[in-house]
Subunit: 233 residues, 2 copies
Amino acid sequence: MKTRAVILLSGGLDSSTVCACAAAEEREIHALTFDYNQRNRVELNSARAVARRWNVQEHLIFPVDLSLFGGSSLVDPNMEVRKDVPLEKIGEKIPTSYVPARNTVFLSLALAFAETRKASEIWIGVNHVDYSGYPDCRPEFIQAFENLAALATRMGTEEGSPLKIRTPLLNLKKGEIILLGLRMGVDYSQTCTCYSPFDNGQPCGHCESCLLRQAGFEEAGISDPLLERFIQQ
Amino acid sequence: MKTRAVILLSGGLDSSTVCACAAAEEREIHALTFDYNQRNRVELNSARAVARRWNVQEHLIFPVDLSLFGGSSLVDPNMEVRKDVPLEKIGEKIPTSYVPARNTVFLSLALAFAETRKASEIWIGVNHVDYSGYPDCRPEFIQAFENLAALATRMGTEEGSPLKIRTPLLNLKKGEIILLGLRMGVDYSQTCTCYSPFDNGQPCGHCESCLLRQAGFEEAGISDPLLERFIQQ
């Protein structure tokens, strides 16, 4: 029997690559996407496309409206998403796009999902190299969550097999992530990275997430198939 | 300025007592109740009544539909809630009423709420003595969450003041919790403990939660004002 794994799939470049990694290790994939009332509604469709591409066992889009708390430019239309920040400044300070405790919330819900599906792994596309400086993307955070998971659930106690958090991208540069994904057959034209894309899915090209993606494709020495899609149109 | 605190308020006996404890310590209370599609819909009204009683600064009822995952008799109408279990057997094994990773999910959302409100504490009514054997009520779980919170957020990093998890009931017996609450002015007729009460709010009297409550009032040597309400009717 295949090992069951919950994959946190936003539909972005990183989580789509993670999905391919899990497929390459022959996991039975239970993909979990959050509709947290994010500005970027396009990424939900990207997540659906990626889930289909990898033939997942199940894809759950779970509503959890983090805009009820506010406090982040990704969910609060009155807060501005930073634009055109110089690359070397990204990650220096926690930006307004940081959603309070988002990865803690997402991993907790993934833990609940994993426990009901008897999955023994959660895969998440956190990255500590080319990232925006979010505290909940750091290796020590992931380790602390794994420690928590071992104490939090039936799995970790009665059944004695604590859950593993798999982070295949943790120490890769953006360019390396892209090259890894391409080797495994990721179609990056399906993925959506931008914090506030146009309605047709075209990325803004100016937010931190777009800038990190652009730099990643440059580093990998190839052009971004998502942008090509819009140039052709 | 008062210390700001997020209180996890289900409307049950324990969390209502916790709310009183926080009021006694003069916290500015931001109460957080979850509508997780639980069978017990009465407790949401209890939570509202208790929040009013303690004059909270803010009371947010946050929807997070844990029935989408299933796996617990508290959210899945096809699973049975255990009835009339002998008291000494309660807590021996994790029962069907255990909601997978519920406290992890609730604390994570409380962490997000706390961060947006700049609250420095989360209060939760977990209890390790007279309880149903849920893994996520144990002191080691709470400690692990506190460790996680210190790494998860802006507070714990840039602002250098990690959040505290307050658990005033952790080591109290049920009877002691009730006596403590009564001293502080808790009106237990407002609280709802039952896993599946009648529509008028009357407790079933047979689920584990009812049995633990009954034993608690016996231990405290007083009668339960909630039951008196229904006898009088």
